[in-house]
């Protein structure tokens, strides 16, 4: 029998992680390694299994099969050791409505056994960071955005080695979202940040690496740049004389083996192609054969969205 030892240098290591709810499979043999010190995006559509994975990693749920190690510890055995070193924010954080933001941070800090001086200093700094320093009302009167910011602050009270955030920006307005993403990016190198999201732009903005989860399976996991380079489809933008010519070119190219999709937008054509050299040869030839002039031929940048659509067959957000 081969014994696979956990990679103790990994912040998170999942091996064949499976979670079933009756007949439904939420996680189906997930393998994943997250290196320490990076910002890691856990990307997937709603219902892909992201929250289930985070619940297992934080000790709130147990795997049906497979293993999960956090900071070198098995999540099923070393719950105390893990909880002391992680920060966790669920998708909808619940606070005691009768507490103020500072009182909640002090309560959280006491659970970690922080001494009073450290707790005072951290609570003050985190309230400042969360934009709640001057707020004296009780949490029961907070907006969802304020609760989300307090949620991030409480997750950082113990200066965690690993910060796990479940959809941290989904409830925030654009300014709040930018602030949270800047805060996440600022932790790079000091704390491993593992955050789930369905917002592709957030991943592109702050993540070093990403895993794409679809129907409980990791369909891709790599650095963001490496993943976009892996895309099999290239984007092309072609412009001809007018919209009539564009429609004629679209008709002429339909059915080519290398053509994955084509959309017209006025005189422009947006194409996704699987074989760039063939497309580079055949598109100008088709335009010339139809007696039309080629005005623009541009190879577009492949985005994470292209990769996501290619892998899971539909846009996230």
């Amino acid at each position: 029998m081969t014994v696979i030892r956990p990679d103790e240098s990994a912040a998170i290591e999942l091996r064949g992680l499976t979670k079933r709810f009756g007949d439904a499979i939420a996680l189906d043999g997930v393998d994943l390694v997250v290196r320490p010190g990076i910002v890691f995006g856990f990307l997937g559509r709603n219902g892909a299994g992201k929250t289930t994975a985070l619940r297992i990693l934080s000790g709130l749920a147990r795997p049906t099969a497979g293993t999960a190690h956090v900071l070198g510890h098995d999540v099923e055995r070393a719950t105390d050791a893990i909880r002391a070193r992680i920060g966790f924010l669920p998708d909808v954080p619940g606070f005691y409505p009768w507490m103020t933001a500072r009182e909640y941070l002090e309560f959280a800090g006491r659970l970690f056994g922080l001494d009073k001086a450290t707790l005072d200093a951290r609570a003050t700094a985190l309230l400042e960071m969360a934009g709640l320093a001057s707020v004296t009302t009780r949490v029961g009167g907070f907006s969802r955005g304020m609760k989300q910011r307090l949620g991030i602050a409480q997750a950082l009270i113990n200066a965690p080695s690993l910060l796990m955030l479940d959809e941290p920006t989904s409830a925030l307005d654009p300014i709040g979202r930018r602030e949270v993403l800047e805060m996440v990016a600022s932790l790079r190198g000091r704390t491993t940040v593992f955050f789930s999201t369905h917002i592709l732009a957030d991943v592109e903005r702050v993540c070093d690496a990403v895993a794409i989860l679809e129907r409980g399976r990791v369909v891709a996991s790599a650095g963001v740049a490496e993943l976009t380079a892996r895309a099999t489809a290239n984007r092309l933008i072609v412009e001809v004389e007018d919209s009539v010519a564009a429609a004629a070119v679209a008709g002429a190219l339909a059915g080519r083996a290398w053509l994955k999709s084509i959309e017209t937008d006025g005189r422009a054509l947006h194409l996704a192609v699987s074989d760039l050299p063939s497309a580079q040869r055949e598109i100008p030839a088709a335009i010339a054969a139809a007696g039309m002039a080629l005005r623009r031929f541009e190879i577009g940048e492949t985005s994470l969205e292209d990769v996501f659509v290619e892998l899971v067959g539909g846009p996230a957000q």
Partner: protein, 254 residues
């Protein structure tokens, strides 16, 4: 039990700053004040009803301090126990449904500490409120009836308290076991009425904690009664109930 002290501090502050401070303590103080007054006024009220019905003669002995104590104990036995069931139904399930348990339990707070703290804080509140309510009842009775055998009331309340703490533990167990507060409250009421029914059966009343239900009122009128088994089994049931509540909550996924 990791996090016990910090979480107990939170629980006690929560009691002080929310409705929890007023419900059971408020009821106990209210019954402490009104029980002697109701006992004193009852004969006069009954007589006034009798005079309105020609030919009806009702003889009622003069009220005593014991009547006040019986009235107080009846209120504890019925209304306060039901209040314990209703408030206890949400003690764990409420934290689970509001998401507060998730945030606390992903920190160094063990599930055992979470459950034991809930039981301990409720018990502390109950004991303090019962002591206050009983003291108020004794004081008002002393004023209204010019004295009384307070030691009997204290004994009866102590017996009641064993059953009330058992009910606190049972409700914590049900609240941990059921996701719905309604289901926990329903199970609690079922437990209460079942033990009430069972207490009418002599062997069960003599040899198990169900005997505590009737023993409370008996303590006011009977010189001495054997309560060794009911109290001993009650204490054991409290311990087993707490262990079961911890076990159930530890196995649950949040």
């Amino acid at each position: 039990m990791t996090g016990f002290g910090a979480f107990l501090g939170k629980e006690l502050t929560e009691i002080r700053r929310t409705w929890r401070l007023w419900v059971i303590p408020g009821m106990l103080v209210f019954f402490g004040i009104t029980s002697p007054i109701i006992a004193a006024l009852t004969p006069a009220l009954v007589q006034s009803m009798a005079t309105s019905q020609p030919g009806l003669v009702i003889r009622i002995p003069p009220p005593t301090a014991r009547d006040a104590y019986v009235q107080f104990i009846k209120s504890l036995d019925q209304l306060v126990l039901i209040a314990i069931i209703i408030t206890g139904a949400s003690v764990v399930s409420g934290e689970r449904s509001s998401g507060t348990a998730i945030l606390a339990l992903t920190k160094p707070l063990s599930r055992a500490a979470f459950v034991v703290t809930k039981i301990l804080s409720q018990t502390m509140l109950l004991v303090a409120a019962t002591a206050l309510g009983t003291a108020v009842c004794l004081a008002v009775t002393a004023v209204v009836f010019d004295g009384g055998d307070g030691a009997r009331l204290v004994t009866a309340v102590a017996v009641w308290l064993v059953y009330a703490v058992l009910l606190v533990v049972v409700m914590t167990l049900f609240s941990a076991a059921f996701h719905s507060r309604g289901a926990a409250a329903g199970a609690g009421l079922g437990f209460y009425f079942f033990t009430l029914l069972l207490s009418a059966w002599g062997p069960a009343a003599r040899n198990s904690f169900v005997g505590l239900v009737l023993a409370t009122q008996k303590a006011l009128v009977i010189e001495s009664q054997s309560l060794g088994w009911p109290i001993a089994t009650g204490v054991v049931a409290i311990g087993l109930g707490a262990v079961a509540a911890v076990g159930i909550f530890e196995r649950q996924e949040l």
